[in-house]
């Protein structure tokens, strides 16, 4: 009952005219950016970080949440009309959505996706309301060794689960950890990797790392391989669904969150795996299995619902444990740090207005998104025609604004460019970007927790594994590490 009361208070915060304005601005910007090819939600949030420097935190996070959900909504439009998914979560939407659009059923595909996002987001956010306070109260007692264990889990999961090569994931993580080391040691004030530079003593700002890797790196990478002939989007009318379509899709909308939400909460790469699992499930359960691959509406509805629910699941881990499970959550965590707020179990006690205002605004944002997206879809589709030179020049432009706004230093722009070139190289040689960002953001915190834990245990390594919680987490870490060799043995035995 407690969380219900808090939620009502949260609506009090979210429904003030100013915050309503931020939510509306967030979903509009988010949808626009999601529709724009080449910009994913993580880059969107990173680019828009500086916009919020002058805002108070509640308004800023309400806007971020709107951008996150909006970008998810918008991404599926690109997939369906252009058949070129910009982010991995929208790949599945293209498989069935694009054939539908080609067959003249684009309006139905867009509607199935939009309502799927709405349902998935609603169910996911309700689960967030129910679960987050419980998780937070369970986690209130966890100490330094437990935090360190969670962060180790995040590091291992992000390098092992994502991407095709573990060694490349690990290389990326270590690069991130190295960047995180630059500056003064938090506990002793010792200078590390500063080479005597006063500006480096403050450390490299997380915003610059995120913008550099996500925005500059991506823009340079696209510039090197720019497609000279861009695909033409399929024209589409106002999205709507007939009764027969609704009968086919309502179960898919409800099944999506069951798969999406838990996967969002664990560090398994965000919406990529659950959307795919949802697709496979829908295919197995459908009465129209022969239509799959040629434009089955269930194959759009289920995965899109799963994608939005996974975003809500991501927020559970981010808000209650301070554990970012996706790139967007990692950037949002960086935003929290900008405001000097530490997400974690105590967040719900220390900043109830902020947290519940944020959660309530998710509901508001979802209603706004549905109201905006159904009638405005043809308008959003026009964004797909933006000339590519303007699009990527704009990304570079706003990345520069963002990096300069951090501290008003021209040197930051040079650091930004260096990190951007690094991001370019990482894309060229298949080093995933997310582990590096997680390394920069969580690295310093992990070191602090490690040293705190060892301080308590007086240097004994057993101090890291003296709680049931941390032991459980390390067992999970071991399972993740051991899975590939075990799988190899299993397939060999079977063969």
């Amino acid at each position: 009952m407690d969380s219900l009361n808090s939620l009502v208070d949260g609506f009090g915060t979210a429904l003030t005219p100013v915050n309503l304005l931020w939510a509306a601005l967030g979903v509009l910007l988010g949808t626009a950016i999601g529709v724009l090819p080449g910009i994913g939600p993580a880059m969107a949030v990173a680019l828009l970080l500086p916009v919020t420097y002058g805002l108070e935190p509640t308004g800023a996070f309400i806007m971020f949440a709107g951008i996150y959900y909006g970008a998810m909504f918008g991404g599926s439009t690109t997939s369906i009309l252009l058949n070129t998914p910009g982010e991995s979560a929208a790949v599945v939407a293209a498989i069935e959505g694009n054939p539908m659009a080609k067959a003249g059923r684009g309006a139905q595909a867009l509607a199935a996706a939009a309502i799927g996002h709405f349902t998935g987001g609603m169910i996911g956010t309700i689960l967030l309301v129910v679960l987050a306070p419980t998780v937070a109260s369970l986690a209130v007692d966890i100490g330094a060794p437990d935090y360190f264990a969670i962060m180790v889990l995040a590091f291992i999961a992000v390098t092992s689960v994502l991407g095709s090569s573990r060694i490349r994931g690990l290389a990326s993580l270590l690069i991130g950890l190295t960047v995180g080391l630059v500056g003064l040691d938090q506990m002793t004030g010792q200078q590390r990797l500063t080479f005597g530079s006063l500006q480096l003593a403050d450390g490299i700002d997380v915003v610059i790392v995120a913008v550099g890797l996500f925005a500059i790196g991506e823009a340079l990478w696209v510039a090197a391989h720019l497609r000279r002939s861009t695909g033409t989007p399929i024209p589409v009318g106002r999205p709507w669904l007939g009764r027969a379509d609704v009968r086919r899709t309502w179960k898919s909308w409800l099944r999506g969150p069951v798969i999406g939400f838990p996967f969002g909460a664990i560090p398994a790469g965000g919406a990529e795996i659950p959307t795919f699992l949802s697709y496979v499930t829908e295919k197995r359960l459908s009465k129209h299995r022969d239509q799959f691959g040629k434009g089955a509406i269930e194959g759009v509805a289920g995965p899109e619902s799963a994608a939005s629910a996974s975003a809500a699941g991501t927020l559970v881990s981010m808000l209650t444990l301070g554990l970012p499970t996706t790139a967007v959550a990692a950037v949002m965590l960086a935003a929290f740090q900008q405001y000097g707020i530490q997400p974690g179990p105590l967040l719900f006690e220390r900043e109830p207005d902020l947290v519940w205002g944020l959660i309530a605004s998710l509901f508001v944002g979802m209603v706004l998104l549905l109201a905006l997206n159904l009638p405005l879809a043809p308008l959003w589709a026009k964004l797909l025609r933006i000339p590519r030179p303007y699009l990527y020049a704009g990304i570079l432009f706003f990345a520069a604004v963002g990096a300069y706004a951090v501290g008003g230093e021209a040197l930051d722009l040079v650091i930004l460019l260096v990190i951007g070139v690094l991001g370019f190289g990482m894309r060229r040689y298949g080093l995933p970007v997310l582990p590096a960002v997680i390394g920069v953001i969580l690295g310093p915190a992990a070191e602090q927790q490690l040293r705190r834990a060892l301080q308590i245990s007086d240097g004994s390594v057993t101090g890291l594994v003296d709680t049931p919680f941390s032991v459980t987490v390390y067992v999970i870490v071991l399972l993740i590490l051991l899975w590939p060799p075990v799988k190899k043995v299993i397939t060999r035995v079977r063969a």
Partner: protein, 178 residues
């Protein structure tokens, strides 16, 4: 670097084409260099300062540095065995085309110029040059439209950030005149 001397190439190819095929070894070299840099910094650290707790400021950098060296070697082994990093795809990316180094170099130059010019020229002018230059580098040749869009975007951004959002940007001589 041990990886460069890893025996003769399997097929009768020139040394240059072998290096091009194994350009990923450059990543190993960079990782190794970074690892050595971190380790050197750790070893030369002056830790006479008050060390609180059993773990000082050197432990984690030492682990990270050693990890970088190890990963550099493992990656080199992987590359020499034929492992390749998968280049990232995307909406506007055509991986069938060879990389266009000229565009990337031009963009980098334009961005560096912005970093240099933002001080003396202020944001509105430097920002417009950044957008125009980038669009030009990316292949836009609308000489009537491009500068207007660049100037408009830069001015609007300046006013929105400086006046509405409370994020100060340097106005430069242009704003001194207006």
């Amino acid at each position: 670097m041990t990886t460069e001397t890893a025996g003769p190439p399997p097929r009768p190819t020139t040394a240059r084409s072998w290096l091009r095929d194994h350009s990923e070894l450059g990543v190993c070299v960079l990782l190794l260099a970074l690892g050595v840099l971190v380790l050197t910094d750790t070893l030369t650290m002056d830790v006479d300062l008050t060390q609180r707790g059993p773990v000082g400021p050197r432990t984690v950098p030492a682990v990270v540095g050693a990890g970088l060296v190890l990963v550099a070697l493992l990656l080199a082994v992987d590359v020499l065995r034929g492992g390749r990093g998968e280049a990232e795809g995307g909406e506007d990316i055509d991986l069938a085309e060879p990389a266009d180094g000229r565009t990337v170099a031009l963009l980098t130059g334009v961005f560096l110029a912005f970093a240099v010019l933002i001080g003396p020229l202020g944001f509105p002018i430097a920002g417009a040059l950044l957008f125009w230059g980038s669009a030009y580098a990316l292949g836009s040749r609308h000489h009537d439209r491009d500068p207007l869009i660049a100037a408009g975007l830069s001015l609007v951004t300046y006013f929105v950030f400086d006046n509405l959002l409370g994020v100060p940007l340097p106005g430069g001589p242009l704003m001194g005149v207006l």
